[in-house]
């Protein structure tokens, strides 16, 4: 019987496994994850969750794997891939042969230089276990220092404030969310954090960091010293490419795949955070995305291509972040934009449309309370996919429905 093996049981790997069944694959499926839990959703790990939300939030009820004929192996690491023999070697010493292989190995939190990963009071966030440790430190009377003003750092800052924790955010660059978020939108988020009492310091350099008893001490270049009950390092992620590199696969800011998610080795695919791929809507530019939706969509796309359906990547990148009662959504990639048009939706909510020289819509970034920007961002995503050149006057006039531009 044909055997498809999926390495990595996160959002991408789990979605790929179920997508194979939904698309009618009737061979064997083995899904291998290094964590002990069944696949769960990572977005809630950094966000404030109310008591009614499952924790962890499983991607599928654990019994659904067996019911769908998916062999789920948890707490096992894949040590080696042999593309010649078409086999993977597991950390328990066993070996599994495959007809087609999907690498969905994800990314890991980047470590702060010189800090051991096992530090009790200096931590990163990637897994449910990490999130548990962080939650336990979030309470009134405690002080958390967050290194890095990116999505993870700011979402955790909001979560910690909601739970009454004192929060300091240290950002090395001149503003938060420098990567991928326009200044106007980042400014609105920053203002909200300041209102909530977060101490945000930008342009700071950390010279040393150490654990002292039950505290972590951070030394700053301006000679200031900060004492924290817990330090969260949120300075980005590194794709898990070591396994692929050892197997001789081509690496280029991630496992390099083509538009059908095929790696440089026959019958080996890669998808999600771990891979870089060409994005046709932006002229075939090679990108790597770290996002929930990309992981999910590429998992399904890899499944289709492993079955020989020949579906090329076409999705528009899409990101979201929840902080307090505010949601930020971004569709597309704004690099190369020269014009930024603002559409105000009331109650402080707004969307920026990013257009290139020729007036083509490249990206849209929106922020507002609840999901007020969601519908327009979704429509912007469809306009971006259609490579539309929308009328600038219509984009800024909130009285004009964006849906009407789609038909144009």
């Amino acid at each position: 019987m044909t055997h498809f093996v999926i390495v990595g049981a996160g959002e991408c790997g789990a979605r790929a496994a179920f997508a194979l069944r939904e698309k009618g694959f009737d061979g064997e499926i083995t899904l291998i994850g290094s964590e002990s839990l069944a696949p769960y959703e990572r977005p809630p790990l950094s966000k404030a969750v109310d008591g009614g939300t499952a924790w962890p939030k499983f991607i599928a009820e654990p019994e659904r794997y067996a019911a769908s004929g998916i062999r789920l192996l948890t707490g096992v690491t894949v040590e080696d891939v042999d593309p010649e023999a078409k086999a993977v070697t597991l950390s328990d010493g066993s070996s599994i042969t495959y007809d087609r292989l999907l690498l969905a190995t994800g990314a890991r939190a980047r470590a702060f230089p010189g800090i051991a990963e096992s530090s009790k009071h200096i931590r990163a966030l990637r897994t449910h276990a990490d999130a548990e440790a962080l939650r336990n430190a979030m309470m009134p009377g405690k002080h958390i220092v967050i290194i890095g003003g990116g999505f993870i750092g700011l979402e955790l800052a909001a979560t910690a404030r909601v739970l009454g924790t004192e929060v300091t955010v240290l950002e090395g660059l001149e503003r938060v969310l420098k990567r991928g978020v326009p200044e106007e939108v980042a400014g609105a988020i920053c203002e909200r954090h300041l209102l909530e009492g977060v101490d945000i310091r930008c342009g700071v350099a950390i010279t040393a960091m150490a654990e002292e008893g039950s505290k972590a001490i951070i030394h700053l270049a301006d000679s200031d010293t900060i004492s924290a009950d817990l330090v969260l390092v949120g300075i980005g992620a590194t794709p898990n490419t070591e396994l692929a590199a050892r197997a001789g696969l081509q690496i280029d800011n991630g496992i390099a795949v083509d538009e059908f998610l095929r790696s440089s080795a026959p019958d080996v695919y890669a998808a999600g955070d771990c891979c870089s791929f060409p994005l046709a809507i932006y002229g075939g530019r090679r990108v790597r995305l770290e996002s929930w939706r990309n992981a999910q969509e590429q998992g399904a796309l890899a499944a289709a291509n492993m079955m020989g359906l020949g579906e090329a990547v076409s999705a528009v990148p899409w990101f979201w972040s929840d902080q307090y009662d505010v949601t930020l959504q971004i569709a597309g990639l704004a690099e190369g934009a020269v014009q930024h048009l603002r559409r105000d939706l009331g109650d402080g909510a707004f969307i920026l449309f990013h257009l290139d020289q020729a007036g083509r819509l490249l990206a849209a970034s929106g922020i507002g309370r609840g999901n007020v920007v969601a519908r327009d961002i979704r429509l912007a995503e469809m306009l971006i996919a259609a490579r539309a050149h929308p009328d600038p006057a219509a984009l800024v006039a909130s009285s004009v429905k964006l849906k009407s531009l789609l038909a144009a």
């Binding site: 997508a19 939300t53 609840g370 999901n371």
Partner: protein, 104 residues
């Protein structure tokens, strides 16, 4: 389906191919007007996370959750794939004298 008929709004309060939130006695619903000018109603919250569907986009007979793009057929309540796997409850709708009513 012997529930009471509750008045939701006037017909013209919902555009064609659009949706409106309707709250009643602590419950929340989503009421839709299809492109072919029929009215439908479902539970108001997505079955994936507790998000109001009325902030989402209606395209043809599909409502898309504003948060994670879970898709449902609002005429039948059927979940259309990841991340949603649980169907939405639907409710009977009628139009009388220019007003929309749902039975809950």
């Amino acid at each position: 389906m012997s529930g009471n008929w509750i008045e939701v709004c006037a017909v013209e309060d919902i555009d064609e191919e659009d949706v409106m939130r309707f709250d009643h006695q602590g419950r929340t619903f989503a009421v839709y007007r299809s492109p072919d000018d029929e009215f439908f109603a479902t539970d108001g919250l997505c079955t994936h996370e507790q998000v109001h569907l009325a902030d989402g986009l209606v395209m043809d007979e599909i409502i898309e959750c504003p948060k994670h793009n879970g898709r449902f057929n609002y005429k039948t309540g059927q979940a259309k794939g990841a991340p949603v796997c649980v169907n939405l409850a639907t409710y009977p709708v009628k139009v009388e004298d220019g007003a929309v009513f749902i039975s809950i």
